[in-house]
């Protein structure tokens, strides 16, 4: 990896080379993540992946193509020569079937994308509301024993007792997030759902516990103390 790559791997900018590097080291890497994460993601260009795929494919195929050139061409010629002839009606029917299948796939995909976009817009509105409140308190979820920290999100709490748990991803297929609270009144369930964003009320709650429930199997993922 060249110097640029090594610097990038350390989360450094090119200024590192001349000692004038505000974005080097651990702080620089964190700031880089934060500054970029705060941008609205751009829509990827149409055909962008195809161009990239072609570029990496060309690079990978280069040595192989030279060796295989003549033999590959000859084999293709043989296959073409031995292919039986097909009647036109059969070809038209196949094309029509393929076109219908493609339409169905595109229609279903469009519907699902629309539903997903609507859900994301709702989530964005909820988050924007929470972020705009200067009294919102953010608390890290502390991992339960044996749970990797990278899997955990945060708990947001407002002074009036409203709370929001944000997880990096929805619950796994077949399982549900359950939020319970411990307080003077004992244990009570606060919220449940598969979504990565759950809202509830933490009035009189001292400790919030996030669990993953799959049938009878319940695993405690994280805890957060409110006081």
């Amino acid at each position: 990896m060249n110097e640029e790559g090594r610097a990038a791997g350390r989360g450094e900018g090119p200024e590192a080379a001349n000692g004038n590097a505000p974005f080097e080291g651990r702080e620089g890497a964190l700031a880089t993540d934060a500054l970029v994460a705060g941008l609205q993601p751009s829509e990827l260009p149409a055909g962008g992946w195809e161009r990239l795929s072609a570029a990496v494919g060309a690079r990978r195929a280069e040595p192989v193509r030279r060796e295989a050139g003549r033999a590959g061409t000859a084999a293709a010629d043989r296959r073409a020569a031995s292919r039986p002839g097909r009647s036109r009606p059969y070809v038209y029917a196949a094309i029509a079937t393929l076109a219908l299948a493609a339409l169905a796939v595109v229609g279903t995909w469009g519907y699902l994308r629309g539903a997903e976009a609507a859900r994301l817009r709702d989530d964005q509105r909820i988050l924007a509301y929470w972020m705009s409140n200067p009294e919102m308190r953010l608390t890290a979820l502390e991992p339960a024993a044996g749970v990797p920290t990278a899997r955990l999100g945060v708990l947001c709490v407002l002074p009036d007792g409203r709370a929001l748990v944000l997880q990096p991803s929805p619950a796994e297929r077949g399982s549900t997030y359950v939020v319970v609270g411990w307080g003077a009144g004992g244990l009570r369930e606060l919220a449940r759902g598969r979504e990565n964003m759950l809202q509830f009320d933490v009035t009189d709650v001292e400790v919030v516990e996030l669990r993953a429930e799959r049938g009878d199997d319940v695993q405690t993922l994280a805890l957060a103390r409110l006081n």
């Binding site: 791997g9 974005f23 962008g48 964005q124």
Partner: protein, 182 residues
């Protein structure tokens, strides 16, 4: 529960073994923000798309040397894209004018993407909210505009030492805010 960071490490390992599907997943997951960064820095969507392509092409070329335990692949991608943008800015010998940046500037907000993990954006907004306006401007100009300390000092009529200490202090505050939430 599949987490973005954990999946990124797995994908990066697959990438090092020449798995093109892993490259595609990383492209679809992080490409939107890489493109947003490049557009913000260059003020040109066309050039930003070239940077997007080059960034992931270089990731592919260097994947076998990348150590996912040492740095997150998204940080690597952002830094790589930023370096490519800075090279272009240097070659131009000019920065995008304010109007260009305004056109492409996106106010920091809680943004949802194809990978709808809301936590990084929330933390980012939190980290930036601890900075006062002046320090935040210096940090943004240094990061997105690639201005050096001395250029920023001249631009804002501040002593060089003041610029250095303000940016250093701002990054420390951001780190504090981010680690407090972790």
């Amino acid at each position: 529960m599949a987490d973005t960071a954990v999946r990124d490490v797995e994908l990066t390992r697959s990438l090092a073994r020449g798995d093109e599907a892993a490259l595609r997943q990383l492209y679809e997951r992080h490409g939107g923000l890489v493109l947003a960064l490049a557009t913000r820095m260059l003020g040109s969507r066309e050039e930003a798309e070239e940077v997007l392509h080059d960034t992931f092409y270089r990731l592919w070329q260097n994947a076998h040397r990348f150590d996912p335990e040492r740095a997150a692949v998204r940080t690597y991608l952002y830094a790589l894209a930023r370096n490519l943008c800075l090279s272009r800015l240097r070659a131009r010998r000019s920065r995008p004018v304010a109007a260009d940046l305004d056109e492409h500037h996106v106010a920091y907000q809680v943004a949802m993407s194809a990978d709808p993990d809301p936590v990084p954006a929330l933390m980012a907004a939190r980290a930036l909210s601890v900075l006062d306006d002046g320090d935040r401007l210096l940090v943004e100009e240094a990061f997105f505009g690639g201005w050096s300390y001395s250029e920023l000092a001249a631009r804002h009529g501040l002593p060089l030492g003041t610029v250095k200490s303000r940016i250093k202090r701002a990054l420390e505050k951001m780190r504090g805010a981010l680690e407090a939430g972790r």
